[in-house]
């Protein structure tokens, strides 16, 4: 089944030669606009949000972006290639007469993404956990468990905090007959899931051989990029822009958390890159109710075009201040 080529540049509304910074800015702007928690048209925004995230997942990573650009150059209308593609799609197992092709839908990633940028392929066969078919003939009469299937699932940080129920559908296409069977199921994303965690959906993998049990479907959690926060373990990082005088004199600012907003005191003499910790405002660490922290990372900005009077004041300051950052 040929997959449709996705124009990720169009999704983010940036030109092909956009800088990394432009891509980041475009993503943040769109992600704020379409974030399912803020948008009015929930259903439409959710679709759009997933699309933006997928595009950023590819274009925001220099390695993926290069690969994508090369892919675009060798892509044909029917979804095939002029050159052979680098690797097989995921969730597929080669060999055997009764071979099936699997498509998992509702995970937040398109077939196009799964095929070329999904993580499973990087493990080189690790997505293919069943013993090979050859073994079943050798050990005739043994019941073999069906293979497990793995797929990534896009989870927003809000979902990781509160949990959610997702509708996922699994389509099996018989390679020989072309017959397709679709199963739809609801999967609970438990609160406190972490990046890379695999949610096991029992019995939804490939059928077993000789009366063996079915394999399982593993949905591997992949956090959606958030417009405000970056994630490291259970901790969240928020970049706070400050004016130079705010950093020098200290101030009080209101910063967002995943749930609400908190007021943070910036102490006088705060330097660039300083991390201020807001305890317990991160993601759940485990099911015990403990939570990670929110780190506010200070990012000092300078006025881009100071006016006449402003410049005069800075000049005055430079004459008065004994501060020399390069003095050893």
């Amino acid at each position: 089944m040929p997959v449709e080529f996705k124009d990720y540049y169009k999704v983010l509304g940036v030109p092909r030669n956009a800088s990394e910074e432009d891509i980041k800015k475009a993503f943040r702007k769109l992600a704020r606009q379409y974030h399912p928690d803020v948008a009015k048209d929930k259903k439409g925004a959710e679709e759009k949000f997933k699309e933006i995230n997928e595009a950023y997942e590819v274009l925001g990573d220099p390695e993926n972006r290069t690969k994508y650009d090369e892919l675009g150059a060798s892509w044909r209308e029917d979804g095939s290639f002029r050159q052979a593609p680098g690797r097989q799609g995921r969730g597929r197992r080669p060999g055997g007469e009764e071979s099936f092709e699997f498509h998992v839908d509702g995970t937040g990633f398109s077939d196009f993404f799964e095929q070329f940028f999904g993580r499973g392929g990087r493990f080189g066969g690790m997505n293919d956990f069943a013993p090979p078919h050859a073994r079943s003939t050798e050990e005739e009469g043994f019941a073999l468990r069906g293979a497990d299937l793995e797929s990534d699932i896009l989870v927003t940080l809000e979902e990781a905090l509160a949990g959610s129920v997702r509708t996922v559908s699994l389509q099996r296409v018989n390679r020989r007959t072309g017959e397709a069977k679709t199963q739809t199921l609801k999967v609970r994303i438990p609160p406190g899931v972490h990046e890379g965690q695999a949610i096991r959906v029992a019995g939804m993998g490939e059928d077993g051989v000789g009366g063996g049990a079915s394999g399982d479907l593993y949905l591997r959690v992949r956090f959606a990029a958030h417009p405000e926060f970056r994630v490291r373990g259970a901790d969240l990082y928020y970049a706070l822009d400050l004016a130079p005088w705010e950093a020098v004199l200290g101030t009080k600012v209101v910063v967002p958390t995943l749930k609400d907003r908190v007021s943070v005191r910036i102490p006088p003499g705060t330097t660039q890159g300083r991390q201020l910790r807001v305890r317990g405002r991160g993601l759940p660490i485990d099911s015990s109710g403990r939570q990670g922290d929110l780190y506010v990372v200070v990012n000092i900005q300078v006025p881009p075009e100071p006016g006449e009077e402003e410049r005069e004041l800075w000049k005055q300051l430079s004459r008065v201040s004994p501060f020399n950052p390069r003095k050893t």
């Binding site: 690790m126 293919d128 090979p132 129920v165 509708t167 609801k186 999967v187 899931v193 970056r230």
Partner: protein, 101 residues
């Protein structure tokens, strides 16, 4: 539309070694062997509270089985591969964190 089956895996579910053996279709003694080689670990100290494993352990046992049977890797090789994939995963997450700055 008919009611859909809801899968509610509980992150806290722990499995006995017999259950892991059943779910991963691996003899119990092999799981003990994997434990002795430091490939898979129970959630709590087996000496004080018995052998309890989590979901992740089942996944690891299956991974070990695949490496052993399909790739013909011995236990030392499996230990190395599992360690490396874990490290790659950690580095990939850190890279994503740094790139999104």
């Amino acid at each position: 539309m008919k009611a859909l089956q809801v899968f509610e895996p509980d992150a806290r579910t722990v499995y006995s070694i017999e259950m892991v053996a059943h779910l991963a279709q691996v003899p119990r003694r092999l799981i003990v062997l994997y434990y002795k080689h430091g490939l898979v670990s129970p959630v709590r100290d087996p000496a004080s509270s018995g052998w309890c494993f989590d979901e992740e352990a089942i996944r690891i046992v299956r991974r070990i089985e695949y490496l052993r049977s399909a790739c013909n890797v011995n236990l030392a090789g499996i230990k190395l591969i599992l360690g490396l994939t874990q490290e790659v995963e950690r580095l990939r997450q850190e890279l994503r964190f740094q790139q999104r700055r």
